[in-house]
Amino acid sequence: MTVLRALLALTLVAALAGCSAGSTAYSSPSADSITIGASAAPANLDFTHTDGAAIPQALLDNVYQGLVRLDANGAIVPQLATSWTVSPDRRTYDFQLRTGVTFTDGEPFTADAVKFSIDRVHTDWTISLKSQMDVVDHVEVVDPAHAHVVLKQPSNGWLFSMTGRVGAMFAPGGVRQLATTPIGTGPYQLDRFNRGDSLVLKANPGYWGPKPAYRRVVLKYFQDPTALNNALLSNGIDVISSVQAPDSLAQFASDERFTTIQGTTTAEVVLSFNNAVAPLNDKRVRQALTYGIDRKALLDTAWAGKGLLIGSMVPPSDPWYEDLSTVYPYDPAKARQLLADAGHQHLTLRLRIPNLPYAVDSAQVIRSQLAAIGVTVTIEELDFPAVWLKQVFTGHDFDMSIVAHVEARDIATFGNPKYYWGYRNPAVTQLLAEADAGTPQQQIADMKQVARTINADAAADWLFLLPNLIVAKKGITGLPPNQVGEAFDLSALGRS
């Protein structure tokens, strides 16, 4: 049978190809192992050269640690530093370091590693976030357990940045192969990275802190939300770290195998206005649009009612959070009046949105609600990120857009008149600078003022804050409820 022979040959070719290529190993699931499904896969493991949220999410706090970290409520707490003091001029930070800590390559963690890691951001990092370290003048090694960091000018923002990836501590001898071999001081170390598929972490036997409850954590990546949900429903994974399609929560709620955790994030879904050009350079028009949108109804449609109405660019995990969501109640009559005052009976606006589900759903609601106040909205979907970044973000070619601004403390963008929303208010820029330089108390007062000011100016319409939705098998404890920093902290995971 020649046909059979041909088929055999074909199978053989496939088999040979299989044997030749380098392959990966999985362990069979056990009580010691937990598999967490996530949606964005890291391209490699080097967050000093490759941008994106996926790498720090997996590695920060788990493999790499910083001097300080963010706790689940957004407070800056010690990690590799046991304590720190700030000089009266707020320019010098004096860190006492934890002793007896070693990196997974055996090197001890000392003040030399602190100096090495901070200096290296200037010299070797290529991602744009490295500018967070520009404010550092120099680092002094006082003794192995003691480091001084001297800033060029006072900056509260710098210490906050140190909780993120730029604050990660590296072993001076451990940075040769960051893309494949991360070396840190955290509770876990890399076991395997199967690109495009999964990242396997194993417990670090020499860890200075409490031993993790699971010896092995597998982070498994799914581009497609349905595939992610199916994996949990069919026992392929134990946790969905962040539900991307809230409508699917119902199927987990009705299944007694699972529990759902709802926390907060720092991702404000913003209806952005092009403040720089007519007609949205008129505050009355922006306010009219803000009165003309029923944000509660929009949240129900776009994100199944899960999420928080915030009213400004501040999530509840920031110390200066205030609920400003009621300043512009839904009031179509007032909206029409404001538009008439501004001289617009009929207005046509281009809403240019990324082709992401929350943006598309929100845009439909906005179009129909604004039609009621005499504003015609034309929706244009742009491929995200490439086309949206080029045309809206960089090119400023839009009237309105809708994007989730996920970065922590991104309210500072309202102090930058070149940012895509083109908001120019010297008072806000000034307040942001004072907040950064001042004491923590001053910072809170100033930041509240910034939030109130941009809200009063209707610089944008803050539609809602994305919730952090986790679904887990019953009995799994210690999942971080809030996504407030760059890390997905696995260290507290346990079993009940």
């Binding site: 046909v3 496939a14 069979s28 490699n44 991602i127 598929d197 069919s234 990120p385």
Partner: protein
């Protein structure tokens, strides 16, 4: 002579494909440097990155550089990760080959008996049912078949994983379990198409004089068909199988996404999303080359299956 001409056509097709792919990438809106750097990029950093990627050079230079690299086995470096693309491409291609190979086995194992049955019994109810089902099955897209299979076997019955990939040498059992559903969803649809061709090929053969002769010599109809008929029916079936391999490769791109399989298809879709243009170009070229190679193999197989064609050349 014929072989030389074939090789020439092969290379020319590849060259044209490369030009088309490159041109598409060049007009695709979006700046790879901007996508790589994200929202914090400064103009200086953008310019630096464009230079590092080499995308600030004239298009013809970029094209020749890329093609020149391909000839020396250098697939370039990813814009997103900075890693060499070649080794990754091999890994991903291996995964896709497993998927396509398994789907082909499914298609053949289902289609040959069913198609033969439909032809041998074409006047009876069972034959009509088989050809009806194959008509229906051929109209189902592979990803839809995949979604239905996952719903039944993974989500409801929990007997097979809903997706994911385990390399064969890591855990052969998990590998096979993970391969079943994607191979079925790709393979069954192909089987439906193939069944129709097997049926008509066998029907044609049944009408041939030599089969009548065989039966006149005392063979039962089934014996005659198996001993003399199937080999002759194989020629058109192999042709279709070759053509189908091309559609299988394309189908795999979608099915890989449904089943979270890290093959060429996932690699392609990820790269399009992040505007990792050079990866897109490389993957598409590998797919084009694979399809062309399959066509070439089909031509060679003809002569193996049917000695008459060998003599004719």
């Amino acid at each position: 002579m014929a072989l030389l001409r074939r090789a020439g056509i092969f290379l020319l097709t590849l060259a044209i494909a490369s030009l088309v792919v490159f041109a598409f990438m060049a007009v695709l809106p979006g700046d790879p440097a901007q996508v790589a750097l994200g929202v914090n990029a400064t103009p200086e950093l953008l310019a630096q990155t464009r230079h590092a990627f080499g995308i600030d050079r004239p298009l013809p230079v970029q094209y020749l550089d890329w093609i020149g690299g391909l000839f020396t086995g250098d697939f370039g470096r990813s814009y997103v990760t900075g890693d060499a693309i070649g080794p990754q491409l091999l890994d991903r291609f291996e995964v896709t080959l497993w998927l396509v190979g398994a789907a082909t086995v499914v298609a053949v194992l289902v289609a040959i008996p069913l198609g033969t049955l439909a032809a041998a019994k074409h006047r009876t109810a069972s034959g009509t049912v088989v050809s009806g089902l194959s008509q229906l099955g051929a109209a189902v897209p592979a990803f839809l078949a995949g979604i239905v299979l996952v719903e039944i076997f993974a989500v409801s019955l929990h007997i097979l994983p809903s997706g994911g990939w385990t390399p064969p040498d890591a855990d052969p059992v998990a590998f096979l379990k993970g391969l079943v559903l994607p191979a079925l969803s790709l393979g069954l649809v192909q089987a439906a198409v193939l069944t129709r061709y097997v049926r008509s090929a066998v029907l044609d053969v049944l009408r041939e004089d030599y089969l009548r002769t065989a039966r006149a010599k005392g063979l039962k109809p089934t014996q005659a068909l198996v001993r003399h008929g199937l080999r002759n029916a194989a020629v058109p079936v192999v042709t279709v199988l070759g053509l189908q391999l091309a559609t299988l490769l394309i189908g795999a791109v979608v099915v890989e996404r449904v089943f979270v399989i890290p093959g060429l298809g996932s690699m392609l879709l990820d790269a399009v999303g992040s505007r990792d243009l050079i990866v897109v170009q490389d993957v598409v070229m590998v797919l084009v080359a694979a399809v062309l190679v399959v066509n070439l193999l089909v031509d060679v197989l003809y002569t193996v299956v049917d000695p008459r064609l060998r003599r004719a050349r």
